[in-house]
């Protein structure tokens, strides 16, 4: 690990039927920071997520996590190493309770096998309790406690996004990949979510954030990487990115939005 870089990709390339979705893409994320990945739709941001988390295998390049190569590992192995994620549209276990959803985070850290579960051996019971307490802790901290016995599909959309975050955090990850965490939230929910995410580095988490809402990106990020057509086109602090002519051309535009912000 150099310069406190915890997660990096080196020249990853991913093609779909000839279409290059990610093209020799590098990103390096420093520990305990919020690093945002922005860019137009179809720029390849979600594909980068899927490559890092092992859902896709890159055709070229490497993914390094704490100096370890992740290529070839399965998603569940990558999670166990300490990278958890959320999805753009919450992918909850809809017909299970919120508590059960959050307990999914603890699954990878459990060891009890089939027979010890059948027999209810002491170490299995201890482990179950630990998993449940871990989940309950995050439900409390995200103000979802009163929903713990509700089925996930029955809680409001904003709470579903929070629950997905609770589930990811319950996995005790070192790095969190958040795919548009504020998309579809109303203004007050957005505030809650932003405050919570902004607090994560202090608790020891590193965050890689994909987000369209500039409000959120500019407010939270320590560093921003901009991508377009699968390539990195710029990288810098929010202030640098905000005034970068290349980024304005490709992504931000010169709409009214900027007039308000600039004024």
């Amino acid at each position: 690990m150099r310069d406190g870089i915890i997660l990096e990709t080196q020249g990853i390339t991913k093609r779909f039927r000839g279409l290059v979705a990610v093209d020799r893409f590098d990103i390096a994320i420093r520990e305990r920071t919020i690093h945002s990945l922005i860019g137009p739709n179809g720029a390849g941001k979600t594909t980068v997520f899927n490559v890092i988390t092992g859902i896709y295998q890159p055709e070229e390049g490497k993914v390094l996590f704490q100096g370890r190569v992740l290529n070839g590992l399965k998603p569940h192995e990558i999670l166990a190493l300490g990278i958890a994620r959320t999805f753009q549209n919450p992918r909850l276990f809809r017909n299970m309770t919120c508590l059960e959803n959050a307990m999914a985070g603890g699954h990878a850290h459990g060891r009890a096998g089939f027979w010890s579960s059948v027999l209810g051996l002491p170490h299995q019971r201890r482990e179950e309790r630990a998993i449940r307490e871990g989940a309950e802790e995050w439900l409390r901290r995200l103000n979802l406690w009163h929903f713990r016995h509700e089925l996930a599909r029955n809680i409001p959309y904003g709470c579903q996004k929070l629950l997905e975050l609770a589930r990811a955090l319950a996995a005790q990850p070192k790095v969190l990949l958040l795919d548009e965490p504020t998309c579809g939230l109303n203004e007050s929910e957005k505030e809650t979510m932003m405050a919570f995410i902004g607090d994560l580095p202090k608790q020891g988490f590193t965050v890689l954030l994909v987000e369209h809402n500039m409000n959120v990106v500019m407010g939270l990020s320590d560093l921003i990487t901009v991508m377009n057509y699968g390539k990195k086109i710029a990288e810098g602090t929010p202030a640098e990115i905000y005034n970068d002519p290349v980024v304005i051309e490709a992504y931000l535009g010169r709409g009214e939005e900027r007039a308000v912000a600039g004024g």
Binding site: N41, Y157, N215, P238, Y251, G253, E256, V260
Partner: protein, 249 residues
Amino acid sequence: MLLQVDNVSVAYGAVEALKRVSLAVSGAEIVAVLGANGAGKTTLLKAISGLVPVKSGAIRYNGRELHKLPAHLIARLGVVHIPEGRRVFATLTVEENLNLGGYGCPKEEVQRAKDRVFQLFPVLRERRRQLAGTLSGGEQQMLAIGRGLMRSPKLMLLDEPSLGLAPLLVDQVFATIEQINKEGVPILIVEQNARKALSIANQAHILEVGRIVLSGPARELAADARVREAYLGGAAYERRLRAKESREA
């Protein structure tokens, strides 16, 4: 009155998604409905176009009672609903998508409409033989709008045309919408991007948890302090940006 939504309620099971909502679209104007996710905006459009059943109340369009018609007949009346998230038919070609937009219309009319769409969006002409799923997000939105124009719409319902698009593309899409409206098509648009929507709309309504809480001319609403704070988020944004900059400096 072209479209009259009168005390409409819609329920999904036990949950009421719309509660006695009333609004109207008269001439060739743009009416915007704003609100957060889950406020019932999409449900409102789906109720008008017949995708969800109306529990009580009435929807009238040129004297016809829309709430009693199935969706495909409403579409054939010229009420064109462009759904959220683009929803192009991914494994059909661009041209097949457009042809379906004019499904049931005479052949010459479809051809004429197609030429007009290609004029408006030249990129679609280039890609007419391509599968729609291979288009970029922005191109898909153009295809979705173009597909809606195929039936020479008499009323256009637009659901979150800016959703998931980069800011630059959002500007283009809104410019297109304004242009379509200038050609005489009344538009009912539902948006989360309140600032953008208010900038092009004549009338606006604000929907909160299934109820209309505020209505009026778009310009008045844009100036309303409550609206600015709750939906435009301008003040909060500026505050944070300034704080961030001062911290960095």
